[in-house]
């Protein structure tokens, strides 16, 4: 059942057909990678790029995978250089919550909505993974 609920968040399949006429060409895939082609004049390059990213399995984990398929039609005369684009990981998360916490003292509040906020402010001694195994947090071992 759970397997049926996989969500593919981003699946980008790009085919780039470039008629080369010398020099350097940069193809930018938004937010992901940059492909640079350094080419010998007069030749043709076909680059096929397939990127599959972030498959989220509900309640389990986020799997990030990347596959890049390249075909260079004129080997030896064209160099394709791929570099990771620096992704700026930041921003502001604005959450819409259904109830207001009574307070954020974990010893006192019984409410799940408080827990949702507190788990960002407080660390726990251990962390429980989706397979119900326990892992170090503030406690290194036990």
């Amino acid at each position: 059942m759970k397997r049926l609920l996989w969500f593919v968040l981003l699946m980008a399949i790009m085919s780039v057909l470039a008629a080369a006429c010398g020099g350097t060409k940069t193809i930018e895939v938004p937010g992901e990678t940059i492909i640079k082609e350094v080419q010998v004049p007069g030749e043709t390059v076909v680059v096929e790029k397939e990127v599959i990213k972030e498959v989220q399995v509900p309640g389990e984990t986020v799997v990030v995978t990347k596959e890049v398929v390249k075909e260079v039609q004129v080997p030896g005369e064209t160099v394709v250089v791929e570099v990771e684009k620096e992704v700026v990981k930041g921003g502001q998360l604005i959450m819409g919550m259904q109830l207001e916490p009574d307070n954020l003292d974990p010893a006192v509040t019984p409410w799940a909505v408080s827990h949702s906020v507190m788990m960002n402010i407080y660390d726990t001694l251990v962390y429980e993974n989706h397979d119900a195994t326990f892992h170090p947090g503030l406690a290194e071992s036990w």
Binding site: G31, G91, Q92, V108, T109, S116, I121, F134, L138
Partner: protein, 433 residues
């Protein structure tokens, strides 16, 4: 304990801080709402060195690690507790990846990134400070309004998406849905074994055969959560698959059971016995109305006069605890099957959630052995037995698993629903530009 960890106010974290936290939770003066139950039979801590503590329990307590993984047992700064006293709950200070910034009552809470954070649990996706610079938590109780804020961009992550909106959001590339299966007590109707007429096993079993969870699941929940046939969701450790198929939807079987117990069909379409109509009393809160209305109609088709009435949540809880309902709906998120103790141990009649009012020394003994055992296999067998008895005695009609449904804008990356389904790990999250 890990060395080199400091609270947001500069107080060092160490074994003393752990002892301070646990002692404070178990102190009756603290009036702990839930954390104290996660500490079980806590009997003090011994500081072995600056970074080692021995936690003592009066009797073995297997679910301790499960409790220690919940923010209810999250570590608070002893210095800040002393400084703020009763106001600590509105001036929270921890060691987490976000620091409390402000709280405007009725509007929002703001958290900002802890730039010193260098002790992320290894199971998370990176080390060092969180990616997010800040988290704003806005209070938007009305679900339609909450949905609208996601669509206008006023929010980029919302909790509790209505089931009716699920399909539309799932099909829209501008949004992503984050689903969290919730272990614990699923969506069930507890059946009172001590109030007439449900004090008769035959009546309870007849009710089980009269109801049809598949129809309820599809009509009320759009088929999103799966069915369950135990007082545990299918995601919960020890779920007893052997109990499936025990009470198929079978109106003829239901009538046969009632007639075998001396009930005869009356002129109004309801069964009667000794001049009394086969009447069930149920109180409910607004969110349960759709489900119970469908169940009421299913039971009526067999000959039950099921009377349901909506009430305020405080009245509803008090009446349910006092055993005034023949049946009452409830669900409870728990990553450990110990939640069954709340509903089936005789010590939780009146004071707790033993709404079936199941009072049986054999059941108590199984539950006590299960919570004291540190052998997972043994616990699994014991809790499976609890479910078997609960179902054979027709103390509960399990309906469906619970699934937390949240949604975000499609440029929000890396939110993970944790094992409890209802909560989210945000440490690795960021906004894709």
């Amino acid at each position: 304990m890990r060395e080199g960890v400091t609270f947001h106010d500069g107080t060092p974290f160490n074994a003393d801080a752990v002892k301070f936290n646990f002692d404070r939770i178990s102190d009756p003066e603290t009036n702990s709402g839930f954390a104290v139950t996660l500490l079980g039979p806590y009997a003090g801590g011994d500081i072995l060195d600056d970074y080692t503590i021995r936690v003592n329990f009066e009797t073995p307590f297997a679910p301790f690690l499960d409790g220690a993984s919940q923010a209810f047992l999250g570590m608070v700064s002893p210095t800040a507790v002393e400084k703020y006293g009763e106001d600590f709950g509105i001036n929270p200070v921890g060691t987490g990846f976000m620091k409390f910034e402000e709280w405007v009552r009725g509007d929002h809470i703001e958290l900002v990134r802890n730039e010193d954070y260098n002790w992320a649990p290894p199971i998370w996706g990176h080390q060092g400070p969180a990616h997010l610079e800040s988290i704003i938590i806005k209070m938007i109780p009305e679900q339609g309004t909450r949905m609208a804020t996601l669509e206008t961009g006023e929010t980029n992550f919302i909790f509790a998406v209505p089931d009716s909106e699920f399909a539309r959001l799932a099909g829209d590339p501008d949004y992503q849905i984050i689903m969290g299966p919730m272990p614990g007590l699923p969506s069930v109707v507890m059946i009172n074994t001590s109030l007439s007429p449900t004090d008769d096993l035959a009546v309870r079993q007849a009710l089980m055969h009269a109801l049809d969870r598949e129809v309820i699941r599809k009509m009320v929940k759009f088929g999103i959560p799966g069915p369950t046939e135990n007082p545990l969701s299918t995601y919960t450790f020890s779920y007893n698959y052997d109990n499936e198929g025990m009470y198929p939807h079978d109106p003829d079987k239901a009538r046969e059971l009632l007639e075998g117990a001396g009930w005869t069909m009356g002129s109004g379409g309801f069964y009667e016995k000794n001049g009394e109509t086969l009447t069930l009393i149920t109180g409910l809160v607004a969110s349960q109305k759709d489900m119970l209305t469908v169940m009421q109609a299913q039971a009526k088709a067999v000959g039950f006069d099921w009377q349901i009435s909506e009430m305020a949540s405080a009245t509803w809880i008090d009446s349910a605890k006092a055993g005034e309902f023949n049946a009452a709906a409830i669900g409870w998120v728990s990553s450990d099957p110990i939640i069954l103790e709340q509903f089936y141990h005789s010590k939780n009649i009146d004071s707790g959630f033993n709404w079936p009012r199941y009072n049986d020394a054999h059941m108590d003994d199984i539950l006590d052995r299960a919570s004291a055992s540190t052998d997972a296999a043994e616990r699994g067998v014991l809790y499976a037995e609890v479910q078997k008895i609960a179902m054979e005695q027709a103390t509960v009609y399990p309906v469906h698993d619970n699934v937390g449904i949240s949604a975000s804008a499609s440029n929000v990356v890396g939110i993970v629903a944790d094992i409890r389904g209802f909560y989210h790990w945000l440490y690795d999250a960021y906004i894709r530009e």
